[in-house]
Every structure is written in structure tokens, then in C-alpha cells.
């Protein structure tokens, strides 16, 4: 009986040691996996920022192009030409301008 009790004690000690080692290994592995996951997230978000930056630049470029187009459409020469040819307008003549209070 005594021999059997000593064996059981050894088994429990080994089991505790194994449990501790397994716990440490699990924590370490989990930490490593978490670290890898965060790195992957950083890379993934880095790609998304990169794409968003490129898209933002595209939109800015489009905005600048539209501003140039708008500026050229507002060109006084073009407006005068439309006013004269299409709308039949002309500069005011003397006596046509009044100060209205």
C-alpha cells in the first residue's frame, strides 16, 4: 500500500509539473499569436490607409481639375462672347446706369 501511495504522489507531482508547463506554454503561444495578429492588423490597416491616401489624392486631383475647368468657364472672354452672341447683351450706354437708393 505504501508503495502504491508513493507512486500516486509522484504521478500527481508530474501532473502538476506538466500542468504548469502546459499553462506557461499556452500563455506564451497565445501571446505570440496575439502579437502576430496585431502585426497582421497593422499591415492590413497600413494597406487600407495606403489605398485611402491614393484615393484621396485621386479625388483631390479631380477637384483641382474641376476647379481649373470652372475657372476657364468663368473666363471673362467666354462670358462676354456668350452674353453678346447668345443673349444679345451689350455694355451699358451712357445714361443707362442709375444710382438707385
Amino acid at each position: 500500500m505504501k508503495g502504491a501511495g508513493r507512486r500516486n504522489g509522484r504521478v500527481w507531482r508530474r501532473l502538476r509539473t506538466f500542468g504548469a508547463a502546459a499553462t506557461v506554454a499556452t500563455v506564451l503561444t497565445g501571446s505570440a499569436l496575439f502579437y502576430v495578429w496585431t502585426r497582421l492588423q497593422v499591415v492590413s490597416w497600413g494597406y487600407r490607409i495606403s489605398q485611402a491616401s491614393a484615393r484621396q489624392e485621386e479625388l483631390r486631383q479631380a477637384n483641382r481639375e474641376l476647379r481649373i475647368e470652372a475657372a476657364s468657364l468663368r473666363s471673362p472672354g467666354r462670358i462676354e462672347s456668350i452674353a453678346r452672341k447668345e443673349l444679345g447683351l451689350d455694355y451699358t450706354r451712357p445714361g443707362q446706369v442709375f444710382a438707385v437708393k
Binding site: 472672354g77 462676354e80 455694355y91 446706369v97 442709375f98
Partner: protein, 703 residues
């Protein structure tokens, strides 16, 4: 046997253990070496391998007019480069690239076959060209983004804006002067690189336009610029002239509202125009001003007390021997007072005024008006003009400068000097830039107006203004500058051009008209200079009409209310209405020569008068005028309404009532719409100019 075997096993295990331990020690030693001893160097190498420095090209700041209309804007476009070492077949690549880009194949092949590891194929290509090259999928050929400058209004204000070179550097005018402000800095963004060398922005995105160049807000108004350009082009075309400049300035601040030159050029394709056309001649060319300079000799002589407005000078019937030369007038004149000397632009009269003023003060006032020094407008090529130093002045130098010969000025100088008279005698530094703005449009620096100095008193400025108003009266040399609804003060000028490379004058002329409007409350100073007109070269003929065109349109654009028109210039409303009696200008208090006043061009010989100067004797020219000479008086030319009556507005439309009110110098306060049904002051009641009458309008259905 058993213990022997067991021992041998332990020995072997020990040997293996030692080997493993040794290997582990070596690994640890290597780890120590890599992680501790060589860490800085290796970390740097790793950083280089994993990260990329992305150089974001600086975006050149825009240029706006004073109403924030874009005059120059930058866009990122593709530039195409090649790494010849990576191209499999240079001749084939050259052929395909040349076809896609419309380039010379041989020149491109030579470039690709050269020894340089990097060559530009074509810079700042159009989107279509870039797409055509992309579809070729050529190894060793790549794209790079570069800023390209666009001028959306094409040739509008081209000489003021300048243009930008292939490397993005400002080459002329504002683009060159403010290059450091507009250019911006290269922004460097660090990003991790993946196996395919794609950037991973895991360290944050680039800041929004943090290093973009600042924008500039100019004092130019694009609408006024357009008006000035249209008019100067028409004037140059009509006179078949070589060149023309028009400058519009705001006299109180010195703001340059427009600098128009004809012919112009398109800065988007500046290389297509000769260099001469791309210069801003308003700053970088000089001309002899001719008669426009007479207003400065008159202003100087009045201010110094050398003459009084009512003084009279004998103009020698058109030919005057002076310092060994004979000075001529275009038309022969006898006795003229100072106002008539300006009005009829008598060279001899101006010469005699300068002679009475004396060289020292004349030179000082010329300098004070800003001649002989750069205008200070902060513009490249701002020339000082040519004013001989006082030590080199002879008597004839002084005499000829009085009528604008022997001195050379830039258009901007003489515009600023006339603006000083319009500004009550204070010379303002011409201002071309209002502010610098950042990428978000916030003003980061303002450029305030700067008064340079007071040149003449307000009284003198007012008197000279009165003289200049007479120039545009009927019979004045600048009659063509008369602007409907506004009184103009100005001066014509016609000068011979100096022959290039030799002494003396050529047969070519410069005609000019410089003035301000409205004369009594100046809003605009306008100078028009026509270079080498064909046919009649007089400033009153070639330049004054352009002045009128610019003034009329610009004052309407600026909502400057017109002054009442003389009745004959008003379109009659449908209903006959009472008109005002317009009094003649009051008689000028000038002592008449014996025999009374005679039309200047028909006056008799000098001896028929008792000339004021002759009475003073030969030394009298430099003396102050005698006390009996009339005190300074300002010539009044604005019609003064006398005995005015309030008209009957009943039954008139708003337009008709406004026309009638303006013609009578009355302001009406409009209430309602339709036809006039009542008025606050009864018809026929006396009314001084400027009286306000409330008129109620109502639609016929309602009444």
C-alpha cells in the same frame, strides 16, 4: 558487461551533450553579436530593406486675383522616364514610344542607347499620352508625377503672372519674384514596403498639403484686366502700333488693378512666343513721356511757389530760341495761362515754367514723384528709368525735360506719379500682391498699402487736377478721353523715340494718355501708352479713346455712380420733362492782357500785348509773381445746375423716372413698382442737385 555498456552510453550522451552545448553557445554568441554588437548597423540595413521614403513632389501654390478667381493653378501630371539598362531592345522601345508620344524616333533612340542609367522620355505629358504609353507595357519605362502649371484664363494678365519652367521654377514676373513662396517643400513620407515593393502606410498618412506652396492673392481684378486688355488690343490694332500698355491703378492704395499689354501671349505654351512678348513692359521698358510730363513741372512749380495758377506765359507763337536751340509748339500760341499751357500742351510754356522753377527744385520734385528710381512694386525687372544726374543738367536738359524729352520713365512710374496727384499729393508704392494664403485659403501674410512720401500739398494737387480736367474739355488735346457721366482729369503725350544705337530721334512716336476718373473723387488712374502708332501718332488720338473705353466699363463694373449727364447726352424719356439750366463755367480770374482775350491760336504778335513776363524784365523769370497776380484758383468745369425744379414723375415707369432724375441731378427713392403715382416733393418745387425725392410706384391694375 552491463556496467561497461552503461558507461559507454553515458560517455556518448556526454559527448553529444557537449556538442549540442557548444552549438548552442555558438548560436548564442552569434545572437549576441547580431542583436547587441552589430545591432545599430543591421537595424539600419533592415530598415532600408523594409521601408521606403516616399518623396511627395511639392505642389506649387495657386495665384488668385483680388476676388479669389484662380489665375494660375498646378496639377499633378505624369512624366515618363526610362532606365535604358532594363530595356530589352532600345530601337524597338524608341519606335513604339515615339509613335505613342509623337516624338522624333531617332532622337529618342539615341537617348535610350546612351550610357546614362536614367533618362527622361517626355515630361508632363497629357493623360492620353500617358495612357498610350501604359498600354505598351514596356520594361524599363516608368512614370513619375510632377506638377504642371495651368493658366485657365490663357493670355489674361500673362505678362504679370509670368510662367514656370520645366523643373517647376518660376521664370518670369510674379511666378519668378515669388518663387520661394509659391514653390513649397518636398514632403517625405516613410512607409513599410511589402515583397512587391508596395507601400504600407503603417506609420500614418501624409499630412494634408502640409508642405504645399503658399498661394498669392494679387491686386489684379480679372474683370478689369479683361476690359483693359480688350481696349488696348483694339487701340493697338486701330493704330497699327507695334505695342501697347494700359495700367489701371487705385490711387488711394496704389493697388494695380490691371496691367494689359498687346500683343499678349499664352503662358500655357510660353515657348511658342518670342521672349520680347513675354516681358512685362509696364516695368521693364522705358519711354520718353513727352507732354504728359508737363503736369509734373506745373505741380512742382506751383508747390514751390515759383508760379501761381493765374500766371501767364508768352508762348512765342510756336517757335522759341532757347539755349542755342529752337523749341517748337505743334500749334502757335501767344499768351497762355498755366491751365491753357496744360490744356493745349505748349512745350514753350512748359519750358518757361521749368525755367522759372529752376533746376534744383525741378530735379528734387522729379525724384520725389518717383522718377529715376524703381517703382518699388516688388516685381522683377522694375527699372529706374533714366533721369540724368543734376550735375549733368544743362539749361537745355532742364528745358526739354519740362516737356518730357531727355528723361525716360517706365509706364508704372508715370502711372504711380499721376496717382500721387489723384491721391491728394501722396505717392503710394504700387502694390501688386494683397496677401499670401495657405493651402486651406487662410491668409498668412498681408501686404499693406505703403505711402512713400507726400510730394505736393492737397491744394496743389487740387489745382493741378483742375488743369488736367481742362485737357478733356472740348478743344483740349484729350477730348477723346471724355467719359460719359464722369469728369476726367488727364494729359496727353506724344514723344519721339530715340534711335537705337545712334544719337538723335527717329520718326517713330509713342502716344499716351494718362489720367484719373472721376476727377474730384478719383477711383481709377488709367494710363494708356501706344508704341509706334502708324498715321496720326498723337496721344489724344491713339490712346485717349482706349482710356475712355476702360474708364466707362470699369466704373460701371465697380458700381461708381455716374454724375448727372448734360441734357444733350441723355436719351430722352417718353415724356417731355423740364430740364435744368446749366450755367457756364465761372470766368477764371485772370487779368486779361490789353485788348482782351483772343482765341489762343489766332492771337497777334507778342508786342501787341503788355506781357506780364516782359514787364518783369529779363530777370523776372525766376522771380515770384507780383502780388497783383490773381490768387490760386481752381478751374471749375463741372456744370452747375441753377434754378432747378423737381420734375413731374407721374405716370412714368421706374426706368423713365430714373433717367429723368439723373438728368436733373436728383436722386429718387423708389418705393413699389409699376408707374409713378405720387412723389414726396411736388413737381416744379425748387431743387438743388442731389435732392432726394421719394417716388411711389404702383401697378396700373392695383391703382
Amino acid at each position: 558487461m552491463k556496467p561497461l555498456v552503461s558507461r559507454w552510453i553515458r560517455i556518448r550522451l556526454g559527448v553529444v551533450g557537449v556538442i549540442y552545448l557548444a552549438a548552442l553557445a555558438m548560436v548564442l554568441a552569434r545572437v549576441f553579436s547580431l542583436q547587441v554588437l552589430d545591432r545599430p548597423r543591421l537595424a539600419q540595413l533592415a530598415e532600408k530593406q523594409h521601408t521606403a521614403e516616399i518623396h511627395l513632389a511639392p505642389r506649387r501654390g495657386p495665384i488668385y486675383d483680388r476676388r479669389m478667381q484662380e489665375l494660375a493653378v498646378s496639377l499633378d501630371v505624369d512624366s515618363i522616364y526610362a532606365r535604358p539598362g532594363e530595356i530589352r531592345s532600345q530601337p524597338l522601345a524608341a519606335a513604339r514610344l515615339a509613335a505613342a508620344l509623337g516624338m522624333d524616333e531617332d532622337a529618342l533612340r539615341r537617348r535610350l542607347e546612351g550610357k546614362r542609367p536614367f533618362v527622361w522620355v517626355k515630361r508632363r505629358v497629357t493623360p492620353g499620352e500617358a495612357e498610350a504609353v501604359r498600354t505598351l507595357h514596356l520594361a524599363g519605362v516608368g512614370f513619375f508625377k510632377e506638377g504642371r502649371r495651368y493658366y485657365p484664363h490663357r493670355d489674361l494678365a500673362a505678362q504679370v503672372l509670368g510662367f514656370v519652367g520645366i523643373d517647376g521654377q518660376g521664370l518670369e514676373a510674379v511666378e519668378r519674384r515669388f518663387d520661394d513662396v509659391l514653390r513649397g517643400k518636398v514632403e517625405i513620407v516613410v512607409a513599410t514596403r511589402d515583397a512587391l515593393l508596395r507601400p504600407i502606410m503603417d506609420r500614418g498618412a501624409p499630412e494634408d498639403d502640409a508642405d504645399a506652396g503658399h498661394g498669392l492673392v494679387l491686386t489684379i481684378d480679372h474683370a478689369i484686366q479683361y476690359i483693359a486688355e480688350t481696349e488696348i488690343e483694339a487701340a493697338v490694332r486701330q493704330a497699327q502700333a507695334a505695342h501697347g500698355v494700359a495700367i489701371v491703378m487705385e490711387p488711394r492704395t496704389g493697388d494695380v488693378l490691371a496691367i494689359a499689354e498687346a500683343p499678349g501671349f499664352n503662358p500655357n505654351v510660353y515657348a511658342d512666343s518670342p521672349a520680347e512678348l513675354r516681358k512685362c513692359r509696364a516695368f521693364s521698358t522705358t519711354f520718353e513721356p513727352g507732354s504728359t510730363f508737363k503736369i509734373f513741372v506745373v505741380a512742382a512749380a506751383l508747390e514751390s511757389g515759383a508760379i501761381r495758377p493765374a500766371d501767364r506765359f508768352y508762348c512765342e507763337n510756336g517757335a522759341y530760341g532757347f539755349a542755342g536751340r529752337v523749341i517748337h509748339d505743334v500749334h502757335p500760341y501767344g499768351w497762355l495761362d498755366v491751365a491753357d499751357i496744360v490744356k493745349h500742351s505748349s512745350n514753350i510754356g512748359a519750358l518757361k515754367i521749368a525755367d522759372r522753377l529752376g533746376a534744383d527744385p525741378f530735379y528734387r520734385y522729379i525724384r520725389d514723384f518717383g522718377f529715376g528710381a524703381p517703382s518699388g512694386a516688388d516685381f522683377p525687372g522694375d527699372l529706374p528709368g533714366l533721369l540724368p544726374p543734376l550735375q549733368r543738367w544743362s539749361r537745355i536738359t532742364q528745358g526739354t525735360i519740362a516737356f518730357g524729352q531727355g528723361i525716360a520713365v517706365t509706364p508704372i512710374q508715370i502711372t504711380a506719379a499721376v496717382a500721387a496727384i489723384a491721391n491728394g499729393g501722396v505717392l503710394m508704392r504700387p502694390r501688386l500682391v494683397l496677401a499670401e494664403v495657405d493651402a486651406q485659403g487662410r491668409r498668412v501674410r498681408r501686404y499693406e498699402p505703403q505711402a512713400v512720401r507726400r510730394v505736393i500739398s492737397e491744394d496743389t494737387a487740387r489745382i493741378v487736377t483742375g488743369f488736367m480736367k481742362r485737357v478733356t474739355e472740348k478743344g483740349g488735346t484729350g477730348e477723346a478721353a471724355r467719359t460719359a457721366g464722369y469728369v476726367v482729369a488727364g494729359k496727353t503725350g506724344t514723344a519721339q523715340k530715340i534711335r537705337e544705337g545712334v544719337r538723335g530721334y527717329s520718326s517713330k512716336r509713342v502716344g499716351s494718355f494718362i489720367g484719373f476718373v472721376p476727377a474730384d473723387d478719383p477711383r481709377l488712374v488709367i494710363s494708356v501708352i501706344i508704341d509706334e502708332p502708324k498715321g496720326i501718332p498723337y496721344g489724344g488720338k491713339v490712346a485717349a479713346p482706349a482710356f475712355r473705353g476702360i474708364a466707362e466699363k470699369t466704373l460701371t463694373y465697380l458700381n461708381v455712380p455716374p454724375q448727372p449727364l448734360p441734357p444733350e447726352e441723355i436719351e430722352s424719356p417718353s415724356k417731355k420733362t423740364p430740364t435744368l439750366e446749366v450755367a457756364a463755367p465761372p470766368a477764371r480770374r485772370v487779368p486779361e492782357p490789353p485788348g482782351g482775350r483772343t482765341p489762343v491760336a489766332q492771337r497777334g504778335p507778342a508786342e501787341s500785348y503788355e506781357p506780364v513776363l516782359a514787364k518783369r524784365g529779363p530777370t523776372a523769370l525766376g522771380n515770384p509773381p507780383p502780388p497783383e497776380t490773381a490768387p490760386p484758383s481752381i478751374p471749375a468745369v463741372t456744370p452747375v445746375a441753377l434754378g432747378a425744379r423737381v420734375p413731374d414723375f407721374a405716370g412714368m415707369s421706374v426706368r423713365e423716372a430714373l433717367q429723368l432724375a439723373q438728368g436733373n441731378g436728383i436722386t429718387i427713392d423708389i418705393e413699389g413698382s409699376g408707374v409713378a403715382v405720387s412723389q414726396s416733393v411736388p413737381a416744379g418745387a425748387p431743387a438743388a442737385p442731389g435732392t432726394t425725392v421719394k417716388v411711389v410706384f404702383s401697378s396700373p391694375e392695383r391703382s
